[in-house]
Symmetry: C2
Subunit: 412 residues, 2 copies
């Protein structure tokens, strides 16, 4: 018997009617012959409401107790969904993260899954039951409840699919799949049939947040096919899997953009070993994520260091960097939050040298100035002025012919 894991997010279970719709969808899958394991998030805005409640008690609640509190959100969902499935006459059982054997480390509020003990789930499946597991949560070896951080339900689902050797992990969401660009920005953006894990990782971390990066990493590590699709219709969505099946000739699969970004620069730092390490260790110590690091060394033995952070972190980053800059004898620090990041992603670009040039040309033709460029094997990112972001997305999407079905941009 093959196992199918289905994950439904908070908007899919926001009210009793939607919960009943999810129940019907789960039962359809079961009736098609799979053993079905369902992962659900908390109802609608429950998590935010619980956080607000905690804030009325304490400005900085202990993280262990936050996890105790927040994990109730998914526990409510799994119970209600189990009731709805029972109402349709199917045997069903709901399990908390702990009951589902999801063992994590002790990093409360953003725990990492260490292992999954699948005995209980497998026993319930073998009795013909639909098994519902609370997303977003687990338990430490010492029996304390943990949560996996925002979007952790995706990770629960993919990790369970890996542990259970499921044939597929379906991620139900409020969009139809992964698009070549945000359809609100580019109306002609096209839904992709297939993307690779690497591409999805770049898309996800570049701001196309249909799927949590950690979930994609799990999928890649264990080779779990992930099917991102809408909970509001029956259409096939986008498959995230090792090898693109349909669109393997596409060089660039999509354009991502992220406006929650700010630029930080340290100018004229004396160029000697250990400078980068000093700067970025200080930021890491404060848990500030740094993206797009660019260093340019000038003639006169000094260097400019530019990087981007999320706007929420800018104030703290500036403080830290100013202090480090003074210690290092740098000339100055600049910060700018009037920027946005526009990126193209595609596993094929590694063997296609003309890709970067085509992107820069598209931006230039539209009078868009590039402030910072950063590349990896499968993506190219440019920082541009914030007000140019959407124009840039449209220009680049057009330049790579992404509105046309398949292989159109293959013959670069």
């Amino acid at each position: 018997m093959s196992i199918l894991v289905q994950k439904f997010g908070g908007s899919s279970v926001a009210n009793p009617d939607r919960i009943k719709a999810v129940a019907r969808r789960v039962v359809e899958a079961k009736d098609r012959g799979d053993d079905v394991v369902v992962v659900v998030s908390a109802l609608g805005d429950t998590t935010d409401e619980l956080i607000a409640l905690a804030r009325q008690i304490s400005e900085r609640p202990p993280k262990r107790e936050m996890d105790m509190l927040l994990s109730t959100g998914e526990q409510v969902s799994i119970a209600l969904l189990a009731m709805a499935i029972h109402e349709l006459g199917r045997p069903v059982v709901s399990l908390t993260g702990a009951q589902g054997g999801i063992i994590t480390d002790t990093t409360h509020t953003k725990a990492k899954i260490l292992q999954i003990n699948t005995e209980r789930i497998e026993r319930e499946l073998s009795q013909g039951k639909i098994v519902i597991v609370a997303g977003f949560q687990g338990v430490t070896p010492g029996d304390d409840i943990t949560t996996l951080g925002r979007g952790g339900s995706d990770t629960t689902a993919v990790a369970l699919a890996a542990a259970l050797k499921a044939r597929e992990c379906e991620i139900y969401t409020d969009v139809d799949g992964v698009y070549t660009a945000d359809p609100r920005v580019v109306p002609s953006a096209r839904k992709l049939a297939d993307v690779s894990y690497g591409e999805m990782l770049e898309m996800a971390s570049l701001g196309a947040l249909v799927l949590q990066p950690r979930a994609v990493e799990f999928g890649a590590m264990y080779g779990v096919p992930i099917h991102v699709r809408s909970s509001f219709n029956r259409e096939i969505g986008t498959y995230v899997r090792e090898e693109r099946v349909v669109e393997k000739d596409m060089v660039v699969i999509g354009v991502a953009h992220d406006v929650n970004v700010a630029k930080v620069g340290i100018l004229d730092v004396p160029d000697r070993p250990g400078v980068a390490s000093r700067i970025f260790s200080a930021l890491a110590a404060e848990a500030i994520n740094v993206d797009m690091i660019v260093q340019t060394t000038k003639e006169q033995q000094t260097t400019d260091m530019l990087f981007s952070v999320s706007r929420d972190d800018l104030a703290r980053a500036k403080e830290i960097v100013e202090q480090v800059a003074a210690e290092l004898g740098a000339k100055g620090v600049i910060v700018n939050d009037n920027v946005a990041k526009v990126s193209i992603v595609g596993a094929g670009m590694v063997s296609n040298p003309g890709v970067a040039a085509r992107m820069f040309e598209a931006l230039a033709k539209n009078d868009i100035n590039i402030q910072v460029i950063s590349t990896s094997e499968i993506k190219i990112s440019c920082l541009v002025k914030a007000e140019d972001a959407l124009k840039a997305v449209r220009a680049v999407h057009e330049a790579f012919g992404l509105s046309q079905p398949e292989t159109q941009n293959a013959a670069l």
Copy 2:
């Protein structure tokens, strides 16, 4: 080090301000030198809200899933109270029923506690922490979450006090203690300093619902002193313990009344063995609790059987009894929900034969007709017309001089 168990009900933790007040109270107790274990119920009306949510999904939700759902209520409370205590700078940890080692049978929605594994609680206490345990819930040996039924938090608290050999179990509630009668009915009703477990059991099951009967049974079984007191002031409340210390000479300690009661009668049943068994087995099979059974056998070899049930059960009881009556060849069935039960309670009455007479005399003097009488060793109950109930309570309270402090009614 002595252990104190404190239990706070839903109204005591109804909002963030009250939770903070409870936190201060807990910290005061800790600072006085006890190891403190706190049991809390769900916030205010949470349980009712969760039940309403379940009803939107299913008319008859599976009980296992109801427990999964309802147990989140207390989990929210323990997390918030832990945050509030942490905010006061004291080490604290919250534990679900399962984490607290509260093992129950598998009777979902009204599980019975089988045993308590106190290792985790004792370990946390030994580290100087205040330990908060979710009331009302436990876990089966097979790792399924259960709830103990309405008011189960009282039972959790007293059972924990027993298992931990606590010096006392404080039950904080919205009343000051146990009164000689409902103060809303008898303004001169007096708070009792002491009642015995047996008396408290009769008072509780007779409608003075300050303490769950099962909690009292636990207290009696393990000799746990229970201190019922108000969460809104610092006054000493009422002690429920083996031997009344202060008021041991009181013959009658209080007058209880219950208006949620209805009378059922089966008239002229052929008087032969097995009749009572047939009637009450049929009711028990439907989980209908029967109270005050009275049988009177007449000259002509038939018998009248009268008993009381709660008004909620009357419709179902009538149906069942009419069917059984037909099978037994009884002449008829009468039902009447225009009745109320008035009772006096006191461990001393067993050796004071004049008590019943004094009660009946008080009722007669006030033109109150008695419909059914039922007695145990420590209580006498009378069914009267519903509209006579409060007058009856006042008359009986007066007749036994219960407004006067102590020993006044001793010299009967």
